[in-house]
């Protein structure tokens, strides 16, 4: 495994244009892999070039990325990333995601795909790819939690936020009635008439407002959303076993 990791890191450095993101990620994998001796990695990089060595040291001071995904997962995800990225561009575009056949069967598939792209961007690179997936990492058994780190991506709050943003497509901090309707339409489809959809949406917004004892506007704010989702065990519902 150790050699596999080193190989991966080398490939990573070699193939990618080294941007800060990658470096952070790299550093992350490095700290997450206690078995790998720092010296062995450094040695490998020394052989490659001195530039990498430099970057390695600069990394220790750089910002910490709160991606709580372990190295073997990273390795797997990277392979997946590469297999999705058919033309070896180093980043993924929407079409690459859409090529996953099962996704087209999924009523929220397009939304999920959308959530990988930060607004205005057409592509997603590996670190952000992992960062999005990190929302779904299983929380239990976290050996790597130390106080110094920021809140990890798979904390309940951030997961909620992620889900909220799936609804809130225009990112104004509110799920408007239209947005909710849109989701409902996707998830209920043609089985239900438009009036029924409307009434469901209305009802849902009412409920959310009541639950939070808040403003009676025609939208659901994040607070209201959180309140109405209180009883749902988000950590369980949003966890995936990433295979080793």
């Amino acid at each position: 495994m150790e050699t596999a990791l080193i190989k991966y890191l080398c490939r990573f450095i070699k193939n990618k244009n080294t941007k800060t993101d990658n470096l952070i990620l790299f550093r992350y994998s490095f700290t997450e892999w206690p078995d790998v001796k720092e010296s062995s990695i450094e040695a490998t990089f020394l052989q490659k070039s001195s530039r990498h060595r430099l970057m390695l040291s600069s990394l220790t001071q750089s910002a910490v990325l709160c991606v709580s995904v372990s190295s073997s997962h990273l390795l797997r995800l990277y392979e997946r990333f590469e297999s999705l990225d058919r033309e070896n561009r180093g980043h993924l575009r929407k079409e690459d995601f859409q090529a996953v056949r099962e996704l087209s069967m999924n009523p929220v598939g397009d939304r999920i795909i959308g959530s990988f792209f930060s607004p205005g961007q057409e592509t997603v690179d590996f670190p952000s790819f992992v960062q999005v997936l990190a929302h779904f990492r299983h929380t239990e058994n976290d050996r790597i939690r130390d106080g110094a780190q920021k809140e990890p991506a798979n904390s309940t709050a951030r997961r909620l936020k992620f889900v909220f943003q799936l609804y809130d497509q225009d990112r104004d901090g509110k799920i408007s009635r239209a947005e909710l309707l849109q989701v409902l339409r996707e998830m209920l489809g043609m089985q239900v008439t438009e009036e029924q959809l409307q009434s469901i949406a209305e009802r849902a917004i009412q409920e959310a407002n009541q639950e939070a004892n808040q403003d009676k506007d025609d939208a659901i704010s994040f607070d209201e959303f959180r309140k109405s989702m209180e009883k749902v065990n988000i950590d369980h519902k949003m966890s995936i076993r990433f295979l080793e």
Partner: protein, 895 residues
């Protein structure tokens, strides 16, 4: 209560009947009833009781057991607290008491021979056949550990501890040696699948826990039978003659028996799959093969003294995928249904007879120390075993099994009829304390099934074990919970959770290359072809939209206009009577029936719609919304069948949903792709408009269809429009249009297009034809698509991308196409054709979509799998070029 009471009385009556008749000396009875025949030469009626006695009793018992179940299930608040299995045992007590009261001896009891030869196989076959394969194989490691090591541990620890206690003098004077204790331990070690299922089915625990307990119980049956045989051989051999060689032989035989049994099942499963490739012509008895081959697998393994249980489990597991794909839908349904009937029936009988067997003075021998210690040790060692093994497994598991789950796993170690059957099989000549062992086994069974079964549910609640489903309170919660499923599935797809699992990937490849090739029918394999699927879906969608649109446009007149109908019938009759006279008769009947219902239906339906709209504004409608959501939210893909249930069908009802979702997404993708390709950004407003329009259309169509569009079954129409599942279609509807399908297939030689698709399509074609015939007068009723094909494609851009070619060019579905696309010649220059008058009048987009049925079929054909090219092609050529556009309105021509 009144009803239950009367049924009980009935049972009591029938029991008395059996009892009395059984009691009577045979000769006496013969004289009494058959006396007349001795005197006169010919008797008009004679009672031949002895002649029919054995099967009659069997049938009567089955009836009685079923009635017991009926009574028990009559009121639900009892079964909510007490599991059905416990109640069945209790009713067995009652029945047994009656027999005992009448006979003073227990005439009926569960014999091991019957149990292992008649009751057990259907149950195990059912579990194997409806096994949630994916769940089972993903957890197979843990299941095997528990089933093999756990069972051995249970057997060994119990035997040794009891032996130790005996030496310590805890149970008085017993003549039982160490080997016999071990034998006893081995027979009682196994968790019983029948009992476990019966309890866990009602306690909805999470799926991993469920499959762990259930899978373990299933596999360790095999293990325990093997262990039992080995120890039985040892006991027969006698202590002094056992040496190392014998022990090694025993261990080897253990593995040979277990794996050999599985292998036999596997071989039979493959045989069955092969066989099912060529049973097309005997569809009626097709389902019977499952039972016969399954039973043969069981008996063969038994004959070779291999593990019969494992054999039949693996038989079911292996063949399920292939036979479900190979066989006709109806056959699959029948199999699923029949296997449940047998299994559930056998299970009921087992429990009832377990109860009956207890009411027998002759079998009971009591030894307080032995019984209580056995109970205690069973519970303790089960807990120890499970905790230790789970701890061991958790070292490697990514999601560890938590403590509450472990408690439930341990507590779910119910013993059942297998243990009892084995205990009865003990040889009294060699084991003096057989009676004690049998009665102890019975007590253990009752204790675990009744006491642990009853307390299981409260325990699960109290420990807050993760449940399979939970109640949702707010609407947003409900939506979100469902959304989570979809999200997780999507994320798993994106992160490639299953594709990259190396071993599984290899297996899939192997299966695709070899197993499927050999075991699946060519036509089925083709249907599994991805590219074809896409087109199939698209076509389906088109056909459905066409139906919707057609409903709105023409069919109302079509129905209401009696003369037109007659005309249509006559025309149709001329063409078809020769081949299908019976169906013609059907049609004439249905028409009159439908016309009466039709008139009433209109006002009531519209009222209902109105009412619904009114209700929409009210606040009291909340419940409605919940209900609506509950019913219609799309289910996540992985949710479809994760549980095994003996008494319910788990038919995947959501395939239609997937189709619908898929079609919708595909459509939007096509739109964006097309516009992207042309360099035009898709105007958002148009898309929205389309969607809205679509919704509206659906709504109107629903209303319209409810208002009696179809002459045959007005109520089913709206559903079958959107969900073309043959089971939803009325039977009559289906029958009537079977002929169309058949004809259509003959004409176009399309084998792989699903029945329901063609059927929809055809129905529509007919209706369309009808309305058209009113336009153009003298068109004959050939089943052609060509005549409706004159350049409607021009309307596509408006609708947003239903060009046939565009569908193929979607990059997502390209890689599997190995032939270049063949756009039929009559489509190539389609853009240049100006919209004809008729095109402007007629439905804007539907007819030409219809044409895609066959052209696309041609183009999807890949080089190896499709050899029907000539027929459709020729046919198309005959019909082209498209007919000249007729003048738009000539209503008078019809009659």
């Amino acid at each position: 209560m009144g009803r239950g009471g009367s049924v009980r009385f009935w049972i009591f009556g029938s029991m008395l009947l059996i009892g009395v008749w059984g009691q009577e000396p045979k000769s006496e009875r013969h004289d009494e009833h058959g006396g007349g025949s001795n005197v006169s030469g010919i008797s008009i009626v004679s009672l031949e009781w002895e002649y029919v006695e054995p099967p009659y009793l069997v049938a009567l018992w089955i009836l009685v057991c079923f009635l017991c179940k009926l009574v028990i299930e009559a009121n639900h608040h009892v079964t909510e607290f007490i599991p059905e299995s416990a109640l069945l045992i209790c009713s067995g007590f009652i029945l047994g008491g009656m027999i005992w009261g009448a006979d003073k001896v227990q005439t009926f009891r569960l014999t091991p021979y019957d149990f292992f030869h008649y009751f057990l196989p259907p149950i195990i076959l059912d579990t194997g056949y409806s096994m949630p394969n994916k769940l089972f194989f993903t957890n197979l490691g843990g299941i095997l550990i528990h089933a093999i090591i756990g069972t051995c541990w249970n057997a060994a620890s119990l035997g040794l501890s009891l032996w130790g206690c005996q030496i310590g003098g805890a149970m008085g004077d017993l003549n039982v040696g160490l080997l016999q204790y071990l034998l006893f331990g081995s027979l009682i070690a196994a968790v019983d699948p029948v009992a476990v299922l019966a309890v866990f089915e009602q306690v909805h625990v999470n799926e991993v826990l469920f499959i762990m307990v259930f899978g373990e119980s299933l596999l360790n049956d095999g293990v325990t039978v093997v262990l039992f045989n080995v120890f039985n051989a040892f006991v027969t051999l006698g202590g002094p003659r056992i040496n190392a060689a014998e022990i090694i032989k025993g261990i080897i035989s253990f593995f040979v028996v277990a794996f050999g049994g599985s292998l036999v099942g596997f071989v039979f499963g493959l045989l069955f799959a092969l066989l099912s490739r060529c049973t097309k012509n005997i569809q009626i008895i097709e389902p019977g093969f499952l039972f016969i081959l399954g039973y043969l697998a069981y008996l063969t393994a038994e004959m070779l003294s291999l593990s019969a249980i494992l054999s039949i489990v693996f038989f079911g597991v292996c063949c399920q995928k292939y036979i479900n794909a190979n066989m006709d839908e109806n056959s699959v349904r029948t199999m699923k249904c029949a296997v449940k009937v047998f299994a559930n029936g056998a299970e009921t009988m087992i429990f009832v007879f377990l109860g009956i067997s207890a009411i027998d003075k002759s079998i009971w021998v009591w030894n307080t120390g032995f019984v209580l210690l056995t109970l205690l040790f069973i519970l303790i060692y089960r807990f120890m075993g499970v905790f230790f093994l789970t701890w061991f497994m958790n070292l490697t598991r990514l999601v560890p099994i938590d403590y509450t789950d472990q408690v439930i796993m341990s507590y779910g170690g119910l013993r059942g009829a297998v243990a009892y059957g084995l205990a009865v099989m003990l040889d009294e000549a060699k084991i003096e304390e057989k009676k004690l062992m049998v009665s102890t086994t019975l007590i253990v069974v009752y204790f675990t099934v009744i006491l642990q079964g009853v307390t299981m549910k409260p325990l699960v609640k109290w420990l807050k074990v993760k449940r399979a489903a939970s109640a949702e309170k707010t609407l947003i919660e409900k939506v979100q919970n469902r959304a989570f499923e979809h999200i997780l599935v999507a994320i798993e797809d994106i992160s490639g959770q299953k594709g990259n699992n190396y071993l599984r990937n290899k297996w899939f490849k192997f299966e695709e290359n070899w197993m499927s090739r050999i075991l699946l029918r060519p036509s089925v394999r083709e249907r599994q072809d991805k590219v074809f699927n896409v087109f199939h879906q698209l076509n389906l969608k088109d056909a459905m939209s066409y139906v919707v649109e057609g409903e709105r446009r023409g069919s109302l007149e079509f129905i209401r206009n009696e003369s037109a109908f007659v005309d249509f019938k006559k025309k149709f009759g001329e063409d078809m009577t020769m081949s299908m006279p019976d169906i013609m008769a059907d049609m004439s009947d249905d028409r009159s029936a439908a016309s009466s219902t039709r008139k009433e239906s209109v006002p009531s339906v519209s009222l209902e719609v109105h009412e619904q709209a009114m209700r929409g504004t009210r606040a009291a409608e909340g419940l409605d919304s919940h209900h609506l959501l509950q019913q219609h939210l799309y289910k996540g893909r992985k949710q479809h069948r994760h549980r095994y249930s003996r008494s319910h069908f788990d038919i995947n009802k959501d395939e239609n949903e997937i189709q619908e979702i898929f079609q919708r997404t595909m459509k939007s993708r096509l739109e964006s792709f097309k516009s992207g390709k042309m360099g035009v950004a898709p105007p958002k407003t148009i898309t929205k408009h389309t969607r809205k329009e679509q919704q509206q259309k659906v709504r109107t169509a629903q209303t319209l269809t409810q208002q009696s569009v179809h002459p045959l079954e007005k109520d089913k129409i709206p559903r079958c429009l959107f969900f073309p599942n043959p089971t939803l279609h009325g039977k009559t509807l289906f029958q009537d249009f079977r002929c169309f399908t058949r004809f259509f297939r003959q004409v176009y030689n399309i084998q792989a297009v699903k029945k329901n698709l063609t059927f929809h399509f055809f129905w529509f074609q007919l209706q369309n034809k009808k309305s058209k015939s009113r336009l153009s007068g003298d068109e004959d009723f050939e089943f052609s698509e060509g005549d409706s094909a004159s350049g409607y494609d021009t309307s596509f851009p408006v609708r947003g991308g239903y060009r046939p070619g565009a569908g193929i060019e979607n990059p997502a579905f390209m890689p599997d196409v190995d032939l270049p696309l063949q756009i039929p010649p009559w489509l190539e220059d389609v853009d240049s054709v100006a919209p004809s008058q008729r095109a402007q009048v007629r439905l804007p987009w539907t007819p030409s979509n219809l044409r895609r049925l066959s052209p696309l079929r041609i183009s999807t054909r890949s080089s190896d799998s499709f050899n029907l090219a000539e027929a459709p092609g020729d046919h198309q050529d005959d019909q082209l070029p498209p007919p000249p556009t007729p003048p738009p309105h000539r209503d008078g021509d019809v009659v």
